[in-house]
């Protein structure tokens, strides 16, 4: 028993001191927050008067990752600003709307509300892309993947670069 404890302590110290650059199994919520920023670089954004790039998070479920990851960063040469809302009527101008939590009827209202406002919608909600969202992040076999509703993106006048489409599955759908 003592030997075993010694072995573990030895391993513990060895790993701690020499292997501090160990790669990590990444926290899913953190990766989703990063992916939102990365996706933005694959969109041909139309010029707007705003000097900020705004990501609005609806009913945030991803902790403080959006703030901590995007603080001080830029997209399209514009400083990123993160806004949080719990009511879609509080939505002001935004480039990306990340929907973190919503029932289907809520989602339907949100998508109606922002229709033709040139907003990129992203979410990890089940079936999001098929339900009329533009980009869905989902997990499969411990990896994150993307579904893109290209028709919806075109309807919303969101121009997605081909290089992003190659990394994603293209799906169709909208409100039945």
């Amino acid at each position: 028993m003592k030997k075993i404890i010694f072995i573990f302590i030895f391993i513990f110290i060895f790993i701690s001191i020499f292997y501090n650059n160990l790669y990590a199994y990444e926290v899913e919520d953190k990766l989703k927050s990063i992916i939102v920023g990365k996706i933005a670089k694959f969109i041909n954004w139309e010029n707007s008067d705003s000097n900020e790039f705004i990501i609005t998070v609806y009913k945030n479920q991803l902790g403080n990752y959006f703030n901590s990851i995007h603080k001080g960063k830029k997209i399209n040469d514009k400083k990123i600003r993160i806004k949080y809302i719990n009511n879609i009527e509080n939505l002001k101008f935004t480039n990306i709307l990340y929907i973190s939590k919503a029932t289907s009827s809520e989602l339907s209202s949100i998508l109606n509300y922002i229709h033709e406002k040139n907003i990129l919608t992203i979410s990890d909600l089940r079936g999001f892309a098929q339900k009329g969202g533009i980009i869905q992040i989902y997990s499969l076999s411990q990896k994150l993947k993307l579904n893109i509703n290209l028709k919806k993106a075109k309807k919303e006048n969101i121009k997605i670069k081909a290089s992003l489409l190659r990394m994603a599955n293209i799906v169709e759908g909208g409100r039945p």
Binding site: Y19, I35, T103, K131, L140, L144
Partner: protein, 763 residues
């Protein structure tokens, strides 16, 4: 003083490592980020949403589909043994029905003290009552090998009592099997192998087909067929002249086909209709002891080897609907129907009483267990609280059907007497349960959970159980966790109603021996009482330190006290005139019955270290080092128990287990190496107890990715052909020079090294 030293070393290291924080994810491309492996999540042990298993308030482990595939294991019991020290499984010989359904234990406790869930729903047990005194003796437990491993997305193992959350059986832990859901790959694989000795050939064909449905729904079909030829490790039968090997010792001949259909049909309105069907059929043959030549015998004067043929049909059907109300309350209604039938027949044997007119093949009866469970579960998040509540109704039925009269008439079938008309039973019971479960997230570092469950059984009454657990992150990387709970295990319907008696010739007279139900007059006169539930108290405390999300150290202490554990009593003869009168009335010479016999205390420790390191050339080494120590002590007796039984409970399984699991990926190669040390244990036999030394086994799998669609593997288990100590006594039947040369409780089996090749096509 030494403890202080350890603590100071660890504290210093924690301080050093907490200063190391590298985060270069933001510099990576989107493609690289999409290729990152995300954390393994689990739901078991808490009613919260799935979360990183390292953040669980209870000790939880997760085995992923990828790990299962890389292990090369084809049976679920072996997958669990491969990855989880403290999980023990046996492959018995000459042990009646047990030869065909592998018994298993967790933390040295009993096979029926483990709850098994599939997609979060209770899985029914097998109908087989293990009548043989081995580690799963006197239990009816789940037949884990009815589930093809290729259908599994992940296995979550809760190493903690959880009857207050899930109900009966969750005493030593919970094994939660999650079937593959949405998938982008279909696979067909072929596995073929054999033992070093040249026997035990095995071929397994697996296929997994997934059809995507709307809104991330799916329909997945898994089919698996396995053909296993027997192994032969028996010693010579010295009753023969010249001695020769006759009785089979090793794996049985078996054919197994199984299928899983798992579907989720999602609707636009967030509701999901889910279902799964798991069907398994096994046809398996093992031998009983060889009957030596006898020239006075009308049939088989030159000797014969009775062959037991088990046909096991097992299925479960789950249908449920889940969704969310407009106020965000999650609801889930489901029904699970489970069925297991164990059909005995014996071939190449005879009934001595019937002499020359005896058949040589017999239908020896069958056992059936049915379980139907209906659940309603609700969950809602209100601020810092996660609330859950639910109701459950369960119906169970246990049936014994007699075999042909020729199988139990007189002395009955040689090898295994058939179930008689007096053994027949058709017993049912119902139970209702209600639970509430609340998680209070005090802040981002401290979480407390309380669960309360009430159960009412139609046969033995009601029970209430409670569980409290907490998780506290002292610093971001260090989680301290503690749980305390009470639990119970309802006596299985089989334990309350099982009877298997047969006639033997004693003093030139036929007399009845065997297992009687606790309410039989013979059992009652010996002191048997109606079975009560086992009750338990659990405590775990431990810590998880995450160097990074891919490198962690877990240390957990566990304590479980079980009162009124149900055992099959020793064989008892009449010792008073009153007992003799009843024995005479029923023609009985000895009897055993199920009884709440003992109180036990089990405690121990798990220390687990996980890491993944990526080298400069891009190759990756994933290592797990896991030490387990656990010991069980009998702390109270409700009735006399033989020294053999005491030894088997306290020392009959390895108390310590050590694993070093390594997976190394370089270019197109994926190499998995598993070194396991099974600690010493002892097995009792007659009046002796025989010590078995520790044994170290090595498993290796080398996988080569030919292209995106084709993988080939070669590998082996116990590749250096380690064997267990033989019995420390000379005996014709059970002895180092006998027919069965070592214990049936071997944690590594008796068949030795196994080598295989495997090809997988993915499309």
């Amino acid at each position: 003083m030494k403890l202080l030293k350890y603590i100071s070393i660890i504290s210093t290291t924690l301080l050093v490592t907490s200063l190391h924080a590298t985060d270069d994810l933001d510099d990576k491309s989107l493609a690289s980020i999409l290729n990152e492996t995300i954390e393994l999540k689990s739901e078991i042990g808490s009613r919260e949403q799935a979360k990183n298993f390292l953040d669980s308030k209870s000790p939880v482990d997760v085995i992923s589909a990828k790990q299962i595939e890389e292990s090369g294991q084809t049976k679920l019991t072996n997958v669990l043994k491969y990855f989880v020290p403290g999980f023990n499984t046996i492959e018995t010989s000459v042990s009646d029905g047990t030869d065909h359904i592998n018994g298993f234990t967790l933390r040295g406790m009993s096979s029926d003290q483990i709850l098994v869930l599939v997609n979060g729903k209770r899985l029914h047990t097998s109908a087989l009552m293990n009548e043989i005194p081995n580690i799963s003796g006197g239990t009816t437990h789940v037949d884990l090998n009815t589930i093809p491993v290729v259908a599994i997305e992940k296995i979550e193992i809760l190493r903690d009592g959880a009857a207050a959350q899930y109900g009966t059986d969750a005493i030593s832990g919970v094994i939660s099997i999650i079937l593959k859901g949405k998938s982008d790959k279909n696979t067909i694989s072929l596995h073929a192998g054999q033992r070093k000795e040249g026997d035990g050939e095995q071929v397994q064909l697996d296929s997994f087909l997934s059809v995507p449905l709307d809104y991330d729904g799916f329909a997945n079909l898994t089919l698996s067929a396995n053909l296993q030829n027997r192994t032969q490790r028996a010693g010579e039968d010295r009753r023969l002249d010249p001695p020769s090997v006759q009785t089979w010792m090793g794996l049985p001949d078996s054919k197994n086909i199984s299928g899983v259909l798992n579907t989720e049909i999602a609707q636009y309105n967030d509701s999901v209709i889910y279902s799964n069907a798991i069907v398994s059929y096994r046809d398996s043959e093992s031998s009983t002891f060889y009957r030596v030549p006898d020239e006075n015998r009308a049939i088989y004067p030159n000797g014969f080897l009775p062959i037991m043929n088990a046909k096991i049909l097992d299925y479960s059907f789950t249908l449920g609907v889940k969704g969310r109300f407009s106020d965000d309350t999650q609801w889930d209604i489901s029904n699970v129907y489970g069925y297991n039938n164990f059909d005995y027949s014996l071939n190449d044997t005879m009934n001595y009483t019937l002499g020359a007119v005896s058949p040589t093949s017999f239908d020896n009866g069958n056992l059936t267990f049915i379980q139907n469970t209906t659940n309603l579960d609700l969950k809602k998040n209100i601020g810092q609280f996660n609330l859950a509540a639910g109701l459950e109704y369960r119906y169970e039925n246990y049936k014994i059907e007699a075999g042909d009269e020729t199988s139990y008439a007189g002395t009955g079938t040689q090898g295994f007497s058939g179930f008689s008309s007096e053994d027949e039973t058709d017993s049912s019971r119902e139970n209702y349960a209600a639970y509430i479960d609340t998680v209070y997230n005090v802040n981002k570092d401290l979480s407390i959970e309380g669960a309360l469950r009430f159960e009412d059984y139609s046969d033995f009454g009601s029970t209430q159980n409670i569980k409290i657990s907490s998780g506290y992150k002292i610093i971001e990387k260090l989680l301290l966790r503690t749980t305390a709970s009470t639990g119970f295990r309802a006596p299985s319907l089989a334990q309350s109603n099982f009877s298997h008696t047969s006639h033997f010739v004693t003093n030139d007279q036929l007399s009845l021996k065997g297992i009687f139900t606790p309410d039989h007059a013979v059992s009652q006169i010996l002191g048997a009482q109606e079975l009560e539930s086992e009750s338990s108290v659990h405590f775990t405390t431990g810590a998880v330190y995450q160097f990074s999300n891919k490198t962690s150290l877990m240390i957990d202490y566990f304590y479980t006290k079980v009162d009124d554990r149900i055992l099959l009593s020793d064989k008892k003869s009449a010792s008073t005139p009153e007992e003799q009168a009843i024995f005479d009335e029923y023609g009985v010479s000895n009897a055993s019955y199920f009884t709440n016999a003992i109180n036990t205390k089990t405690q121990g420790i798990d220390i687990k270290f996980n890491s993944e390191y990526t080298f400069d050339n891009g190759s990756k080494l994933n290592s797990t080092i896991w030490y387990y120590y656990g010991e069980t002590e009998i702390i109270g007796f409700n009735e006399d128990v033989s020294l053999n039984k005491i030894n088997d409970i306290e020392n009959g399984q390895p108390k310590s287990n050590f694993r070093i699991l390594n997976n190394y990926k370089v270019d197109k190669y994926n190499i998995t190496l598993n070194i396991s040390r099974f600690g010493s244990f002892s097995s009792s036999l007659g009046s002796g107890v025989y010590d078995i030394d520790p044994v170290i086994t090595t498993d290796l799998d080398i996988n080569y990715e030919v292209n995106n669609n084709l993988d080939i593997s070669i590998g082996g288990t116990n590749i250096f052909d380690e064997t267990l100590d033989k019995w420390g006594r000379s005996n014709i039947f059970l002895g180092y020079d006998g027919i069965l040369t070592t214990t049936n409780n071997s944690p590594i089996g008796v068949s030795g090294a196994y080598y295989y090749i495997k090809a997988s096509i993915k499309f």
